[in-house]
């Protein structure tokens, strides 16, 4: 076995220590501003790819790009929105490049997801008499997935991720008025789906009474 070259070792150590103060500052700022949104990004990536491996790759790639271009992030604006925009662009590029067909949903995969978390997540609103509250996570999610992508996307960004209309408009490259009307129509479609589930499960809705 080769003995490590002390000179080379010294160079390696120096390189490691030679992290410039500016680079060091960037790292700390990046961790505070960007890395804190890791769970939200993974979650969204999982919802759009429906595949844990793809989601991981997508998030990793997003952070690599975000770190490289962190200087172009406008300080004081919403970093989470900036990251989501990068992730979305990445997603579009990857699916175009591989000519994969986006929006294909593996329903068995969703079932598995919900199966694995079924017992760990219990809602406290279970006793609520509102029929909505007796619905299963899985049904609500299936209803969401049944929507055309343009509606599902704005609902996810607004209701799940809590972005403002302005942030969403920027992410989906559409005017705020479009975001507004997509949310309205999307929620109406979703409502109809949920009422359909409620009816097949034997719950009466307000309109039946």
């Amino acid at each position: 076995m080769d003995k490590p070259d002390p000179a080379q070792q010294r160079i390696n150590m120096q390189t490691h220590e030679l992290l410039s103060p500016a680079e060091h500052k960037k790292q700390i700022e990046f961790q505070n501003e960007a890395v804190v949104h890791l769970h939200a990004l993974y979650n969204y990536a999982l919802h759009i790819t429906m595949n844990p491996d793809d989601a991981e790759d997508l998030v990793q790639d997003t952070y690599l790009k975000a770190y490289r271009f962190f200087n172009s992030f406008e300080r004081g604006t919403n970093c989470k929105a900036w990251l989501f925009k990068i992730l979305k662009n990445n997603y579009i590029n990857i699916f175009r490049k591989n000519s994969k067909e986006p929006g294909k949903v593996d329903y068995d995969l969703i079932k598995d997801f919900y199966h694995s978390i079924k017992d760990t997540r219990r809602d406290t609103t279970e006793a609520d008499s509102d029929y909505f509250h007796t619905m299963l996570h899985e049904e609500v999610y299936q209803a969401l997935l049944s929507l055309p992508e343009e509606f599902r996307e704005v609902i996810q960004l607004c209701d799940i991720e809590g972005f403002t209309y302005e942030e969403i408009a920027n992410m989906v490259d559409s005017p705020i008025g479009t975001v507004r009307s997509r949310l309205f129509r999307g929620r109406k479609l979703l409502r109809a789906q949920l009422e359909g589930y409620a009816r097949t499960n034997g719950f009466t809705t307000d309109t039946d009474q």
Partner: protein, 79 residues
């Protein structure tokens, strides 16, 4: 404000995106119009159900580790 104008504002009302004046006019309208109030209520409840019922997943530890590593590498290792 008439019903058509109110309907256009429903999602913005649900999401707290109305201006002060819009909000006042909208609230006044739905206090008198049952149909628009129903639409507003439905939209609001639909938003709540999505918020409460869609499960959030945590990123796997391997991913967390690799992202953390990304921001603690020396310049030589990064490039």
């Amino acid at each position: 404000m008439n019903c058509n104008e109110a309907l256009l504002l429903i999602s913005a009302a649900v999401d707290g995106e109305l201006s002060f004046t819009e909000k006042q006019q909208f609230l006044l309208h739905i206090s008198k119009c049952e149909g628009c109030y129903g639409e507003f209520d439905d939209a609001q409840r639909t938003k709540m159900i999505i918020k409460e019922r869609v499960v959030r997943f945590k990123a796997p530890q391997t991913l967390i580790n690799s992202i953390m590593q990304l921001t603690s590498l020396s310049p030589k290792e990064t490039f």
